[in-house]
């Protein structure tokens, strides 16, 4: 119907491959760092002092109710105006980390709250310290329960990495934009990019599901159905 020409697009596959690689790097950094932020924030929200809890709650609400793009602009354009030097890739990773941190805080919190009070009391009765109770009794079952929601959020942040092309990061979307401006095969480029994202999303989903099986299979914990309406697509 359209007469599609993929030749010029594949002639620039070097840029696509580099972009794909950058998308992977951005996503992996954000997933690792964002989970750490979310985990720490959830721990603080669960057992920290009251002002800190309030601070975590404010962080979560602000991030979840503003667009990623604006968060990215504030970091990329705002921080240098305050005297912090930051390049586009660093700004992208920072914004993705802060964003995923807020969403994963809510997910971890739901998991932590699902651990029954009697479990914690049993741990205290065995003279475990607060930290030991948190680590062995609360944390592992909590993460096992919310693993599916967490994986969805990881995939969403991978898709969100495409927005980093707005500040000239040459990840998969940025590379596609460059290629379409050189070859004018705009529709074809974005078909290819869309298929790559789709494949990556499906592979990540399977890989994380397998990882979850491996990490949590012996514990026989049923995942809870999470009602998190504001999960970020």
């Amino acid at each position: 119907m359209f007469g599609l020409h993929f030749g010029p697009v594949f002639a620039r596959s070097d840029a696509l491959v580099y972009g794909f690689w950058l998308t992977l790097q951005l996503s992996a950094s954000a997933i690792v760092l964002g989970s750490l932020v979310g985990l720490s924030a959830a721990a603080v929200r669960n057992m920290g002092p009251r002002p800190l809890r309030w601070l975590v709650q404010t962080y979560v609400e602000i991030i979840r109710n503003t667009p990623f793009l604006v968060q990215l602009y504030i970091i990329f354009f705002g921080l240098p105006s305050l005297g912090f030097k930051i390049n586009a890739i660093e700004a992208g990773i920072l914004a993705m980390t802060i964003n995923l941190g807020a969403y994963s805080t809510e997910i971890f919190r739901a998991g932590i709250e699902s651990v029954h009070r009697s479990q914690i009391e049993a741990g205290q009765a065995l003279a475990l310290t607060r930290l030991q109770v948190f680590r062995h009794i609360v944390l592992v079952p909590a993460v096992a329960r919310v693993w599916p929601s967490l994986v969805s959020q990881f995939i969403l942040i991978m898709l969100t990495s495409s927005v980093c092309s707005f500040i000239s990061v040459e990840e998969l979307s940025g590379a596609s934009y460059t290629i379409q401006s050189e070859t004018f095969q705009s529709f074809e480029v974005y078909i290819v990019a869309g298929l790559v994202y789709l494949a990556l999303a499906l592979v990540l989903k399977m890989a994380f599901a397998a990882l979850g099986m491996r990490l949590f299979s012996r514990r026989r914990i049923k995942p809870i159905a999470l009602h998190l309406p504001e999960m970020q697509p």
Binding site: N65, F68, L159, S162, P229
Partner: protein, 218 residues
């Protein structure tokens, strides 16, 4: 000439939020029609229709909104339609919304107990009658909190269409920043306007959720 970030700039930002709201409304309206079709197809009696709907949801949820936007933007122009950017933007956001709403609503339809289907079938209701009088009224209550929550995502993702120069809130922020070179106050203001739109929706979603859970518990 460098302008100062003053009241008239703030007013310009607030006014451009109208386009954000309009985009959200259009995407939600068309996305809801598409989403209902996807949800019903997902629980259809024919396997092929079910598989198609499952595939549709997987594809829409596996592709970034930005790429969906470019695909409809360039795809439509390649097909010979010379449409203004805001139409392509609304279409791509509607497709995005239909994928997620279809998924949410399918879950809601399936969480209506199977006995409701059996009871209404034994009253000789046809399938459309079952949907209209028995299943959907119950599914709507289950679906309402996550649907309102999804609207927050939709409002936020309208910011992405700023790349095809639709002057909605995010693009207006960019323009003001280019004129004033005061990125910090400008984008904080933009974020605050988004927050004012989104936060009440988040709260509404949460209170609906609590209401529903209380009902289930009692």
């Amino acid at each position: 000439m460098i302008r100062n970030f003053g009241p008239s700039e703030i007013l310009f930002l607030i006014e451009s939020a109208r386009w954000t709201l309009l985009l959200t409304f259009l995407a939600a309206a068309f996305g809801a029609c598409g989403g209902l079709a996807v949800a019903l197809a997902r629980v259809a009696q024919t396997r092929a229709i079910r598989n198609f709907a499952t595939g549709y949801i997987a594809v829409v949820q596996g592709i970034p909104v930005l790429i969906l936007l470019f695909l409809s933007y360039y795809g439509l122009s390649r097909a010979g339609f010379n449409l203004p950017p805001i139409v392509a933007a609304s279409i791509s956001l509607a497709i995005y919304a239909s994928g997620y709403l279809g998924d949410i609503w399918q879950g809601a339809i399936q969480s209506v107990p199977v006995q409701q289907w059996e009871a209404s079938a034994s009253l000789a209701l046809t399938r459309p009658q079952q949907y209209r009088t028995v299943i959907l009224p119950q599914a709507v209550r289950i679906a309402l909190p996550p649907t309102v929550g999804f609207l927050v995502q939709l409002v936020k993702n309208t910011s992405i269409v700023s790349i095809v120069s639709v002057v909605e809130l995010a693009r207006a922020g960019q323009l003001v920043n280019n004129a004033t070179f005061q990125p910090f106050p400008v984008f904080i203001t933009v974020a605050a306007i988004y927050f004012v739109i989104c936060f009440p929706l988040s709260l509404a979603s949460r209170s609906l959720e609590m209401k529903f859970n209380a009902y289930r518990g009692g």
